[in-house]
Amino acid sequence: MSEPNVKQSSGRKPAAKPRKSYSSFGQAWLRLRVSPLFWISVVIIAFLLVLAIFPSLFTSHTPDRCDLGDSRAPAGGEYLLGADLQGCDIMANIAYGARASLTVGVVSSLGATAVGVIIGIVAAYFGGWVDALLSRISDVFFAIPLILGAIVAMQVTEHRNVWTLSAILIFFGWTNTARIARSATLEVRTKEYIAAARLLHVHNGRILLTHILPNIIAPIIVVATIGIGGLIAAEASLSYLSIGLPPNIPSWGKAIADGQKVLRVNPGIMLWPALALTLTVLAFISLGEAIRNAFGSRKDSR
């Protein structure tokens, strides 16, 4: 392209000093950096991560060293938060359980969100038979309630661990996100800026990624971050139904399910792990809220 010779209204010379152009995600990050909500949640999550990676920093006990003689020992003394029915240290259960619970929550929520978003967006964006096919596939999975599906699948699974559990939760859990993503995409894809991008022949993948995704991400983030807590709780529900993780993998869900049985006599046994769960939920939801604000602040700022 030769340089056009245009009368210039100002005498300013085009200065070639490219500034960094941030993507929607990059821009969101710029806004995130100054959000207190974000940093609070990051601190809590960082703490939880340290807990999950180095549980031994927080307790001198291990969850498999249990002395029945200390069954339901009160808090303080040898046991910081007391001991459970088996005489295991509650703090140790929480510290060592963090790994499994966080992994299940985060991995399955991320996985379900990723699968759901991809399928939902693709279905709505391309429409026609693609939509029909994907929507019907999601109907099949949607029709099988998460807990029911997990009950059956967990029984079929030979090796139960955090990964297989996460896989199962993803397998039966992605449809919610898919439907929400689909409905949001249906809305966005009629917008003129999508048409504009198409006319520039921006290829579909890029349109999905740069135009559609950032414009539907707000509700998705709400769903995904709430999902983390929901899925940790789902593991607890499965433990309650005795089909959660095997006994030698400590998890908050198991601790809560076990503690629930003695809730009336020794509420602490359940409350402490439940508190850990609540804190986690709180942290991730706050993180989601902060991220959502960062994305949504285009409109928010008005």
Binding site: A15, R19, S21, Q27, A195, A196, L200, H211, S301
Partner: protein, 543 residues
């Protein structure tokens, strides 16, 4: 009624520049007055209007005073606003496309406003509002009012929506009308009707009008006083006679000089494109929209069909600029959308560079981006709200010129900005932080990015002040000369047509009624509608 604005200062927080959008703005408007605010695109006109309505975004900081009949409006509590907005001040927003709620019919908008301000007495029954609404729609030239009331915003043309918004603003016969570019999407005939109406309201009912516009001819014809803004500063204010006929400030003079004139035709040389290759050809194009009555689940197909395009034939030859003019709602945008492949015609062919539009696939489609581009009628809706100006402009290069380095691309963007007269500072902004004219220019810049061979412009310069517009027209002319750019130029501004177009087609009710070289059509119109159109051009007296 009096409105007193004193020392208004409004600033939006922006990282680097802390220059306010409006500074020390003062204006007072009395009863029966029609005051115009004119000025460069981005100079703060809409900002002032928003400030009067109390609708500035939360982050904007406002100081000074805005008094309506002695009541301070800045910081007025929400409850008090109910008595002001809609009732005492009617507001016509600049952007007609997004200002109507897509999920409701036009009728709903009227009903709700009528109910809010109790404009029809209860005794008149449940459907009384409909009559009032229909009357008001007819007032603004929407003669098919019953139909419009049942339609949803996306089913209306740009000009129709704009008129709906005007009718809504005037519904309660407010004492003060603030109209932000109310006729930017309207053809001259309708524009005249609207301005007559506004004039009538101020004369008869004692209302006042603040008219924000870039059409100086219109200002000269209709207004009593004018205030000129330049980069946030009020450079001149006074009566029409003082400012328009004897401007003191350099900017005002500059502005007046740049006003395009119909008479430009006489002094222009026209190229003859008869032998040039046809780059765009529309053959026997029909587009029908079924006019459905909406049921809850099933849409009962009424017998009626809206003929948006009726046997349209149109040719654009290489290097030619063909203008398409016509009444608002006559089917111009429909043609543009069909040409771009965004709507399927009911019948007929669109041939682009010898190939049928719907035969182009795959790799060719990719190249198509270089061949044909469009500037949509509504610039805001066509910009991704999540994209900064920089990203919007980078996108074409990210797709089509991947081999370019970041520096090259950036340089290219700066060049594009220059072409449309935008400042580098805007690169970091989002569409909702831009003025109407700035948005429109971003859209133009994007369309030019890939240097297309054919450009479809749908009211692409309607929101621009005359100086910027002149610059952009210059750019387009230049591109045509150097690169052989062909254009389909949809506009209602006949002066613009005179200035840039080689040939013109006049469309009325979906049919092309007259077609030919601009000089022939304008100097010697055949069709009645064309004649009417030419007669309605404002500002003839002034210029």
């Amino acid at each position: 009624m009096t409105l007193d604005i004193t020392n208004l200062r409004i600033a939006y927080p922006h990282g680097r520049t802390d220059k306010p959008a409006v500074e020390s703005f003062s204006l007072s408007v009395g009863a029966n007055e029609r005051v115009a605010i004119v000025g460069e695109s981005g100079s703060g006109k809409s900002t002032v209007a928003n400030a009067i309505m109390g609708l500035l975004p939360g982050k904007a900081s406002v100081t000074g005073s805005i008094k309506l009949d002695g009541t301070e409006l800045i910081g007025l509590p929400t409850r008090e606003w109910y008595k002001v907005r809609g009732a005492q001040i009617g507001y016509v927003p600049q952007d007609p496309m997004l200002s109507l709620n897509e999920v409701w019919t036009i009728g709903y908008h009227f009903r709700e406003t009528i109910a809010t301000h109790r404009l029809v007495p209860h005794e008149d029954g449940r459907d009384a509002w409909r009559k009032l609404a229909a009357d008001r729609l007819r007032e603004v030239g929407l003669n098919d009012a019953e139909r419009v009331l049942k339609q949803y915003p996306h089913q209306l043309s740009g000009g129709m929506r704009q008129r709906v918004l005007i009718a809504l603003a005037l519904l309660a016969r407010p004492k003060l009308i603030i109209a932000d570019e109310p006729t930017s999407a309207l053809d001259v005939v309708v524009q005249k009707q609207i301005l007559d109406l506004l004039e009538d309201l101020t004369d008869r009912l004692g209302s006042s009008l603040i008219l924000i516009t870039h059409d100086l001819g219109l200002v000269a014809d209709r207004c009593t006083r004018v205030s000129v803004l330049y980069r946030g500063d009020q450079v001149e204010t006074g009566s029409i006679d003082e400012v328009i006929r004897a401007p003191k400030q350099a900017y005002t003079k500059h502005l007046l000089e740049a006003v395009p004139k119909l008479s430009a035709i006489r002094s222009r040389a026209f190229n003859d494109f008869k032998d040039a290759e046809k780059v765009l050809e529309i053959r026997h194009l029909y587009k029908e929209y079924p006019l459905k009555r909406s049921g809850w689940f099933f849409n009962r197909h009424g017998a009626s069909i809206l003929q948006a395009s009726d046997d349209v034939n149109l040719t654009v030859r290489s290097g030619e600029c063909r203008a398409l003019v016509g009444e608002s709602g006559s089917g111009k945008s429909t043609i543009a959308k069909i040409v771009m492949g965004l709507e399927k015609p009911t019948r007929g062919d669109v041939i682009i560079q010898g190939r049928n539009r719907w035969d182009i696939r795959g790799q060719e489609l990719d190249e198509q981006a270089h061949h044909i581009q469009i500037v949509f009628q509504d610039p805001y809706a066509s910009l991704d709200p999540q994209f900064t100006v920089q990203r919007t402009l980078l996108e074409p290069f990210a797709v089509h010129h991947r081999q370019w380095s970041a520096d090259e691309r950036y340089e290219r963007i700066l060049h594009l900005l220059e072409l449309v007269g935008l400042d580098e500072d805007l690169l970091g902004r989002y569409p909702d932080e831009l003025s109407g004219g700035q948005r429109q220019r971003v859209a133009i810049a994007r369309a030019l990015a890939l240097e297309p061979e054919i450009l479809v412009l749908d009211e692409a310069v309607s929101a621009l002040d005359v100086i910027v517009r002149a610059q952009i027209l210059e750019t387009l002319r230049d591109l045509r000369e150097r690169l052989g750019l062909s254009m389909l130029f949809i506009t209602h501004d006949l002066a613009v047509v005179a200035e840039i177009a080689d040939s013109v087609s006049v469309i009325n009710h979906g049919r092309i009624v007259e077609s030919g070289a601009v000089s022939d059509v304008f100097l010697n119109p055949q069709d009645d509608y064309t004649k009417e159109l030419l007669a309605a051009v404002p500002g003839r007296a002034a210029f």
